[in-house]
């Protein structure tokens, strides 16, 4: 029982990371109906930036904030320069551009920082009072950080004029433009925020999976699964989906299929959701008028 509880709780901790990635994916999907295959690599690159800052002797939380700024700026830049020209293009074009972006960011990281695996520090000391036999302090801290980020994102969208404008731009671009919202910039900010949220996931995941250019591939897959479980157009669903997938992955890995098939669990979840209930648990069911 204790072992099971341990699996569930550490699943929840991983779930926090998946929830962040899923939330980043959902934000871009809501605004542009694009699935960002490069989301994981953007997070990975930001994590390297944080690592660089830490190497330079910057205190952790300062480096953390600076990295968030970098991730935001990078997200905006990518939207403006690379994604914008293909905004209205056919799906295959968009997918190809995102995959290209994935490859470029990945090889850039490999070229700049080498492919050797690096250790990444956790900001939460391993003997902290909030640690327990069930969860390490880092896992507790990870859930806490994820929750804070999610709350901030929620407050931003719910209670600030900019958040309102962004929601409007995503929902009805034409009318938003008519009332004076700069829709193009709203999309860019959306990308920036997605990059920022993704980078939190990267920095929280790195102490566990270690830092290398391929660290996010598996996490991105779980992020996709999480976003689909919750419904890819529903932010709360994505968060809940993240925690669900995290627990499911850990429990299935420990008791059902073994750790070697963990990624296959994600594949099964993705295909299962798409086949049985493509709109996810909380997504809107799309009805096409003929």
């Amino acid at each position: 029982m204790q072992a099971f509880l341990h699996q569930v709780l550490s699943g929840l901790a991983n779930g926090g990371i998946y929830a962040s990635v899923a939330l980043a994916l959902v934000m871009i999907y809501q605004a542009t109906h694009h699935v960002n295959f490069a989301q994981g690599e953007m997070a990975m690159f930001s994590t390297y930036v944080c690592w660089l800052l830490l190497q330079a002797g910057v205190p952790y939380w300062v480096a953390f904030i600076l990295t968030l700024g970098f991730a935001f700026a990078a997200g905006v830049a990518i939207e403006r320069i690379i994604v914008r020209p293909v905004e209205q293009a056919p799906v295959l074009t968009v997918v190809a551009v995102f995959i290209g972006l994935l490859l470029i960011i990945n090889s850039l990281a490999g070229w700049l920082f080498s492919y050797t695996i690096k250790a990444f520090p956790s900001p939460f000391p391993s003997d902290a009072w909030y640690g327990s036999p069930f969860m390490s302090p880092h896992e507790v801290g990870m859930i806490f950080v994820t929750m804070v980020v999610l709350a901030l994102v929620f407050f931003f969208f719910r209670f600030t004029p900019l958040g309102l404008a962004m929601r409007a731009a995503a929902q009805n671009p034409v009318s938003s433009r008519l009332v004076g919202i700069r829709v193009g910039w709203m999309l860019a900010i959306g990308w920036g925020l997605a990059g920022l949220i993704g980078s939190v996931a990267g920095m929280m995941a790195a102490p566990i999976v270690y830092l290398d250019p391929y660290m996010m591939t598996g996490i991105l897959l779980y992020g996709f699964a999480a976003a689909l479980v919750g419904g890819i157009d529903n932010a709360w669903g994505a968060v809940l989906g993240g925690f669900t997938v995290g627990v499911l992955e850990n429990v299935a890995g420990a008791y059902v299929v073994g750790t070697e098939l963990k990624l296959t669990v994600a594949l099964a979840i993705i295909i299962g959701v798409l086949v049985i209930r493509p709109s996810g648990l909380f997504g809107r069911v799309l009805v096409t008028r003929v």
Partner: protein, 343 residues
């Protein structure tokens, strides 16, 4: 229809270029290509011959992927998985049973046809991004499935399976590398002819119609569900046959060579070669065989970076790939040399 469109849609065969019709030129071109392909193994060193054989294998994969993604509009980021199924079918048959090597190829094709059809069934409900996502997941998890410990008895787990290269039959005066090249060519040419016929005919038009407007296609009486899942099956079959041949060429299969990068390589191949183009498969195959090899000498990160850059820039600059550029160039050449259509 206006007068001008009637004039320009006149059959191209009627026009002459340097004494031959366009159709005759095309036949001459294909014949020259075939003669060149047959002469190649006697002119190349064994390493370059290995590369040429790889190009043939990739060309088959890319044609298969192009049938699905280019002509039918179903995006697959996971064709590496079908390549792996083909390769492993051949390898396991060779390793565990007494099946001769030439018989493993059609068997691998048949297995992949079924696998593709079965994957294509649920994929019917997925469109655009969702299908890309599902196949992305397939590509990423393929190596894990191949390593699974309960399959280890057959698949050899992480170690993979070593295959011996077949010798030339009937006492042909060829060494095993040359024979393997011809063996691949013997599969490539018929598969391209079949593909050409399939895509030019009624079936191909139905596929394209489904890509361009599924609802209109259904209204015209096309069974879209059947066509889409059959296309998936056929595409997987091409890829599986190529996978089996690829296993013979590489003489080795192992789980980690069939991961996400392989599927991406195929995507790069069709995008650079030319989407919805048969000849594009060949250009794409040449690209993915040689460019990473050259780039590898610069740095380990370079091949991927070049793939990425080519993916993005081809989307901006040449959306129909190399084949599209060539088509436009020849059309311009024809306009310049041939008689101008009256305006």
């Amino acid at each position: 229809m206006t007068m001008a469109t009637i004039e320009t849609s006149r059959p191209a065969a009627a026009r002459q270029y340097a004494g031959l019709s366009l159709r005759a030129w095309r036949i001459v071109g294909v014949a020259a290509l075939l003669v060149g392909a047959c002469a190649l193994p006697f002119a190349l060193s064994s390493y370059h011959l290995f590369q040429a054989t790889q190009v043939l294998v990739y060309a088959m994969v890319l044609l298969g992927l192009n049938i699905l993604t280019g002509f039918n509009g179903q995006i697959s980021l996971g064709h590496g998985a079908f390549y792996a199924i083909g390769a492993y079918t051949a390898a396991v048959l060779l390793d565990k049973t007494g099946v001769p090597y030439w018989a493993t190829i059609p068997l691998a094709g048949a297995v992949c046809l079924v696998a593709g059809f079965l994957f294509g069934r649920p994929a019917l409900r997925l469109e655009g991004h969702y299908l890309a996502l599902a196949t992305f997941a397939l590509a990423v998890s393929t190596p894990q499935i191949l390593k699974y410990k309960h399959f280890e008895e057959w698949t050899g787990g992480v170690q993979g399976i070593v295959i011996t290269k077949p010798d030339a039959p009937l006492g042909l005066p060829l060494d095993s590398d040359q024979w393997l090249y011809f063996f691949c060519l013997l599969w490539t040419v018929p598969l391209f002819v079949i593909g050409w016929n399939l895509l030019r005919g009624r079936t191909g038009r139905a596929m394209v119609a489904i890509r361009d407007h599924p609802m209109a296609a259904a209204t015209m009486g096309i069974d879209t569900a059947l066509y889409k899942s059959m296309t998936f099956g056929v595409s997987a079959m091409y890829t599986g046959i190529a996978g089996a041949l690829g296993a013979l060429v590489a003489q080795f299969v192992s789980p980690d060579s069939f991961g996400f990068p392989l599927s991406i390589q195929f995507l790069v191949g069709i995008v650079v070669g030319g989407i919805a183009s048969i000849s594009g498969a060949v250009f794409g195959a040449i690209f993915i065989e040689f460019v990473p090899n050259i780039a590898d000498q610069i740095s380990k990160a370079a091949p991927q970076a070049i793939y990425g850059i080519f993916l993005i820039t081809s989307m901006y600059l040449m959306p129909m790939g190399v084949a599209g550029v060539i088509r436009r160039a020849t059309a311009r050449l024809a306009r310049m040399t041939g008689e101008r259509p009256p305006r």
